[in-house]
Each structure stands twice: as C-alpha cells, then as structure tokens.
C-alpha cells in the first residue's frame, strides 16, 4: 500500500475525491450566485432552496412520472429555471431601485417559504434517490477504487462550469451580458432588451443550482434541508473568492472542497470549520477576496 505523509494512499485519495465532489457543488452554486449578483446586484439567499428544489424535481419526475435520471438532468433545471424566471418577473424585479439589502432579505424570506412548504409536504427525514444503473459500480484506477457516480459528478460539474465560463467570456451573448453588468443604461441605449437579459440571467443561475441539485440527489438523500446545509458554506466560498470573476468562483469552489477533504484526513475535528478559517485568513490579508476587484 502506498503511504503518503504517513496516511494510507487510498484513504487520502478517497477523501480527496469526496472533497472534489463537495467542491463541485460549491463551484456550481457560487458560480450561479456570482452570475446573478453581477447582473441583478442581489445576493440570492434562495439559492440553497432552489438547489433543493432541483433535487426534489428529479425525485418527483422519477416517482410521479417515471422519468429517469438522465432526462431529469435536463428537465429539472428547465422546470426550476422557469420557476426562477417567474419569481424574477413577479417579485424580485420590484426591488431593483432599492438598497441591495432588501433583495437579500426578500430572497431569505423566499427560502423560508420554499423550505417550509417542502418540509410540510415531505417531512425532513429525506428520501433516497437511486444511482442510475449506467453509473453504478466502481472503477479501479490503480491507486484507488473510484465509485463511478462520484467520478461522473466531478466530470459533469467541471464541464458545466467550463461551459458557463465559455458562454460568458467567449460568446457575443456573454459579451452583451458583461457589458450590461458594467453599464446597463448604455447597453440598453444600443437596443438590447436589458430587463429580458436580467430575467434570463436569473433563470440561468437558478437552472445551474437546480442542475447541481439533481447531481446531488443520489449522493445526499433528497430532503428539504439539503440546501441550507450547503448555502452557509457557499457564502463563505463567495467571500473568499470575491464576486468579481467567474473563473475565480469556479477555482475557489473546487479548491476549498479539496482543502476540506484534506482536513478530514489530517485533522478531522476541524473539517466543518476549515472553510471559515480560510475565510478569516483571506479577510485579514486580502479583504476583497482572492479574485475580487477593487470596488
């Protein structure tokens, strides 16, 4: 058996993989938060609740309509994204002229309502969601056994994050989006329908959260609290990365997941708090965040 720093190799790699998976969720959620914040200037507190809705959508599609995992991976984000667009059109758009704090408070209230409703309907114990048969089993990588589904989650998250980054940085739609983030009235003067762009951005960010929710469904049991368990850590990730850059939130998300995984190997008691400790260090040395721009 390979030993690394006195730790058995398979244990170290196993925790690294778990860390990467958590990191994948941090990355997808903080990416959505960053995109939404850029356009709407709102911290979407309901992000965790909508992530949870993504997982529930997958579960409902399977149990009520007999629609499997892979179609749900497309359908659930579309459904929840449409719900997000509905929310933006009806409620959130009323707050753009007010202090940003009101957006935070409103979405916080929203998350309480959504989570409360799901808790009423499904209890808080959680329901299992089976790993699709195609992704069951494990692969021998030589230095460790990797459960196929976990590998798939990391891969899928990586692809989706890269795709989002490419769309925003390399396409003309992304260029318009970035321009509207910088100066919305000017972009509107060029004939771009900025309000529609904002709505689509919110829908897109929510769809990303829901996609993460579907990926999470077979790993964590589907329960109403799964979002709020994640979201507090994701806020710390956002503070560490800074809201300035898309790539920054992806890198920070994955990186912190790995840090968390490694802490579990070397000093398990601190694994729940290590992200917050990193946040404290970053705040002391670089208050704007690792990738943040000066305001």
């Amino acid at each position: 058996m390979i030993m690394i720093f006195g730790i058995p190799g398979p244990l170290l790699f196993g925790q690294l993989l778990l860390g990467l998976i958590n990191g994948a969720f941090y990355a997808m959620l903080s990416l959505g938060l960053a995109v939404i914040f850029g356009m709407l200037n709102i911290i979407n507190f309901a992000h965790g609740a909508l992530f949870m809705m993504g997982a529930f959508a997958a579960w409902m599609l399977l149990n009520y309509f007999d629609i499997g995992y892979f179609p749900a991976l497309i359908l659930a984000p579309l459904l929840v994204g449409a719900f997000g667009i509905f929310l933006e059109k009806t409620i959130i758009s009323r707050l753009y002229k007010l202090d940003h704090l009101y957006g935070l408070l409103l979405t916080f209230g929203l998350s309480l309502v959504i989570e409360g409703l799901f808790r009423n309907g499904y209890g808080s114990s959680g329901m299992p969601y089976r790993i699709p048969s195609l992704l069951q089993g494990a692969t021998d990588l030589g230095f460790m056994f990797m459960p196929n589904y976990r590998g798939w989650v990391v891969l899928a998250a990586f692809v989706v994050c890269t795709a989002t980054w490419l769309i925003i940085e390399k396409t003309s739609l992304g260029a318009t989006l970035r321009a509207a983030t910088e100066n919305a009235p000017l972009v509107q003067a060029f004939g771009v329908n900025v309000p529609r762009l904002i709505t689509l951005t919110y829908g897109g960010g929510i769809a990303l959260a829901a996609f993460a929710g579907v990926l999470a469904a077979p790993i964590y049991s589907v329960n109403p609290n799964m979002g709020s368990n994640f979201i507090n850590t994701v806020f710390a990730v956002v503070v560490i990365g800074g809201m300035g850059s898309i790539l920054g939130s992806i890198v920070t998300g994955f990186g912190l997941g790995v840090v968390e995984g490694l802490t579990k190997v070397f000093y398990p008691q601190a694994s729940a708090t290590v992200v917050f400790v990193v946040m404290v260090i970053v705040l002391l040395t670089r208050p704007r965040g690792l990738f943040g721009k000066a305001a």
Binding site: I43, I91, R94, L95, L98, H100, L101, Y102, L104, L105, L106, F108, G109, L110, S111, L112, V113, I114, E115, G116, L117, R119, N120, N232, T233, F235, A236, V238, V239, Q269, A272, T273, F276, V277, M279, V280, L283, L284, P287
Partner: protein, 310 residues
C-alpha cells in the same frame, strides 16, 4: 432626559406602564420571553438602524451569552447578576473578534461574513464539550440576585428581566443621541464624508458592533436564566434570521419598532407552535410582505401616519 422627544417620552411611559401592568394579566414567562427578544432586537437595531450594517450572525452572540450565563450559574453557582454580566462580556469579546473581521467589508458582504462567522461559532458550539452538544445545558438554576433575592419565583424573575430590558433600552437610546451616535448616523448616511471630517469610521463601527453584541449577550444570558436552558437553537442561523425579521417587522431604525416587533413575533410563535413547519412558512411570507410593501414596519408606519419620529 435620555434624548427623548415629547412623543417618544409619552410612548416610553406607555410602554413602562404596560411592563408594570401586564404580568398581572398575562403569563409572566411569556412576557419575559418577549422582553428578552425585545432587548435582542433593540441591540440588533443599533447596527442596522443607526450604522446601516446588516448583521446576519447575531445569534452567535445571543447563544454564546446564553451558554456562558447558564454554565457559570450551573457549575460555578455564581450570583445571577454576575452570570448575566458575564454573558454580556462574552458577547462583547466575541463581537470584538468577529467585528474586527467583518467591518472590513460593508453592505451585503458584511451580511455574508457575519453569517459565515456565526456558522463557525455554531460548529464550535456543536463540538465544544462545555455546551453539551445537541442536549445543551439543561436544568440551570435561577439562583439568587445580589445573594439574597430568590429568583425561582416568576414575578421576582420578571422584575429582574424588566429592569435588564429597561436598562438596555435606555442605554441604547442614550448611545444613539450622544455625539458618538451622531457620528454613527453620519457613517450610515455617507461614510467617505465622515472619514474626511477626521473620524476613524472603522473604530466607530467596531465600537458600535461591540456595544450591540454585548447587549445581545446580556439578552441571551437573561433568556437562558429565565428558561433554565441554553441550546444550539439560540446559536443557529435561523435565530439570526428571526431577529432580522423581528426588527424589520417593527420598523428598522425606529426606537420602539424592535419592541413592537418582538411582541408580535413571540405571540405569533406561541400561537403557531402547534402547526409545526407552518411557522417557517408564515415567517417567510411576512418577510416577503415586509420587504415588498411594508418597509417602514409597524412603528415606522404609525410614525409616518402621525408625522412623528417614534
């Protein structure tokens, strides 16, 4: 006196009368809960209403104050006054440490940082041996005040809680109307301009944060003493959210708003407790309603209607 305007003085006297009369009509333990939450909300309001910083982590100070008071009462058998004071000191010291980090950013970042730091405190409380983990610290004796006043009687305890609340309320009012408070309002309105007048705004913000968290610790300690229990619920981020809602509902930046807010919130929780998870849904709906259509809060709307500053 204390910088009350005439209408505020009338409102204060009315509140005082209610505090004296109510325990003979309403269940005192319920009132004590209202007063503890009211002090908590007033302390929170000092930050959001007068410095303009929204803290989403005040539960950390409330819960830790409660733990320290409960632990010192149960293990060291201290006098109740000293135990409550130690709760306040805990809140203040913790506020100094966390505030030092959090005031480096403002606006939504301040909210996110306080939320994350409070979450760290929560995980600490979950693991630390002295908090009793999931069980909390139970069966805390109420003990004696100044060595000779027995607090096991609800009415005596109520008198203490009322005094603590009034002391905190008046202190906050005095702070707001002091020159120090004027600087805080200056920071809220325009921080760069306040800096250019020669004030070290970061110091002012940190001191205000410490005052707020000290009073929050006292509120937490008093509550732990009343109910004889300190648990993880009080450190949880849901408590932070609840106090934001309480203050918003009563009226941000108003003197009596937080008190009114806690009367409504505690009554609602009492009434809705039997409906389980519907409490969260109702709170969420009220939250959204307040933000969309009722941003001044109850007292703010009344004040606006009467053209008074309450």
């Amino acid at each position: 006196m204390f910088g009350f305007s005439r209408p505020q003085l009338i409102a204060f006297l009315a509140m005082l009368a209610l505090i004296i009369v109510c325990p003979f009509v309403v269940y005192p333990v319920f009132l004590m809960r209202v007063l503890c939450m009211a002090l908590f909300a007033c302390a929170f309001n000092l930050m959001i209403g007068y410095v303009g910083l929204l803290s989403f982590g005040h539960a950390a100070f409330f819960g830790m104050g409660g733990y320290v008071t409960a632990w010192t009462m149960k293990v060291w058998h201290l006098d109740a006054s000293i135990a409550i004071l130690l709760g306040g000191v805990t809140g203040g010291v913790l506020g100094l440490c966390l505030g030092y980090l959090a005031i480096r950013r403002s606006g939504i970042y301040f909210a996110m940082i306080t939320l994350a730091l409070a979450q760290m405190v929560y995980f600490f409380c979950l693991e630390a041996p002295f908090t009793g983990g999931e069980d909390g610290i139970q069966q805390v004796p109420r003990g004696h005040l100044f060595g000779f006043i027995d607090l096991s009687n609800d009415m005596t305890m109520y008198a203490l809680v009322a005094c603590v609340f009034l002391g905190g309320f008046l202190l906050i009012h005095r702070i707001i109307h002091s020159p120090f408070g004027q600087v805080l309002k200056g920071i809220r309105e325009n921080e760069p301009r306040t800096t250019s007048l020669g004030y070290r705004t970061d110091d002012y913000k940190l001191i205000a944060f410490m005052l707020s968290t000290s009073l929050t610790g006292i509120a937490g300690g008093t509550k732990a003493l009343v109910f004889g229990i300190a648990t993880l619920t009080d450190v949880n981020s849901s408590t932070s959210g609840e106090i934001v809602l309480t203050t918003l509902l009563g009226g941000l930046g108003t003197v009596f708003g937080p008190v009114m807010g806690s009367v409504v919130m505690v009554s609602m929780e009492n009434y809705l407790a039997q409906f389980g998870a519907w409490v969260t849904v109702t709170q969420g709906v009220i939250f959204m309603f307040c933000v969309l259509a009722f941003r001044r809060g109850i007292i703010g709307e009344i004040g606006n209607f009467l053209k008074l500053k309450l």
